[in-house]
């Protein structure tokens, strides 16, 4: 990997980290519970994209499986939290 792609990967990793910090601000400051759940869901998506970029950086397939797992668990977690906010219990 020559300079251009390597520096683009590094820059996008930094930008993703900045976006994660901004989402963390909303997570800590969110006035209501649903704001926090939304920020957590966004953090999951950002972490998944970061795993894909890391897979490009280290030229390894394994990161893709991590990204897929993060996507699945993020969906289940956000679904359960939203259901809890809606009903007060996850499984009725």
């Amino acid at each position: 990997m020559t300079g251009l792609l390597a520096s683009a990967v590094l820059a996008s990793l930094f930008i993703f980290a900045l976006a994660m910090a901004l989402a963390l601000i909303r997570l800590f400051r969110g006035p209501s519970a649903q704001d926090r759940v939304l920020a957590l869901d966004y953090l999951y998506i950002l972490a998944m994209l970061t795993m894909l970029v890391l897979g490009i950086r280290y030229a390894s397939d394994t990161y893709f499986e991590g990204a897929l797992l993060i996507a699945l668990f993020g969906f289940v977690g956000s679904f359960a939290l939203a259901k809890f906010l809606l009903r007060g219990e996850v499984i009725e």
Binding site: V9, I25, D35
Partner: protein, 121 residues
């Protein structure tokens, strides 16, 4: 790494532009998440990362690995497909939860669009 495959310059340029586009759109989404005033407005910006961001990063990954393995490696496509199935479900459920909670605490909520019959909640 024993041997390093060099990408041709145009493929490298395309992947770099795709990666930067995806991450910048994710950053714009995070900025919107912090700066917008109302919760129902704040539900919108995360869609930037889960549509444009995910598509751009997955395309860059597909281009890079396909050149590296010298075969079409399309499995990164699973990520945007999975996101396009799961994100609407969570978004809809979160919107309904927010509406329910705001109505319960007597906060102002957006007006109903449909003029159908009302079923309590």
């Amino acid at each position: 790494m024993t041997e390093t495959l060099e990408l041709p310059f145009w493929l490298e340029l395309i992947s770099a532009v795709l990666l930067l586009t995806g991450s910048l759109f994710a950053l714009i989404g995070a900025l919107g998440l912090v700066r917008l005033k109302d919760y129902f407005q704040r539900m919108h910006p995360p869609a930037l990362a889960s549509t444009i961001g995910a598509w751009c990063v997955a395309l860059a990954s597909i281009i890079y690995f396909s050149w590296l393995k010298e075969a079409p490696i399309l499995h990164a496509w699973l990520i945007p497909i999975l996101l396009s199935i799961t994100v609407p479900v969570t978004t809809l459920l979160l919107a309904r939860a927010a509406l329910f909670r705001k109505r319960m605490s007597k906060e102002p909520v957006p007006e109903e669009i449909s003029s159908g019959r009302h079923r309590g909640n």
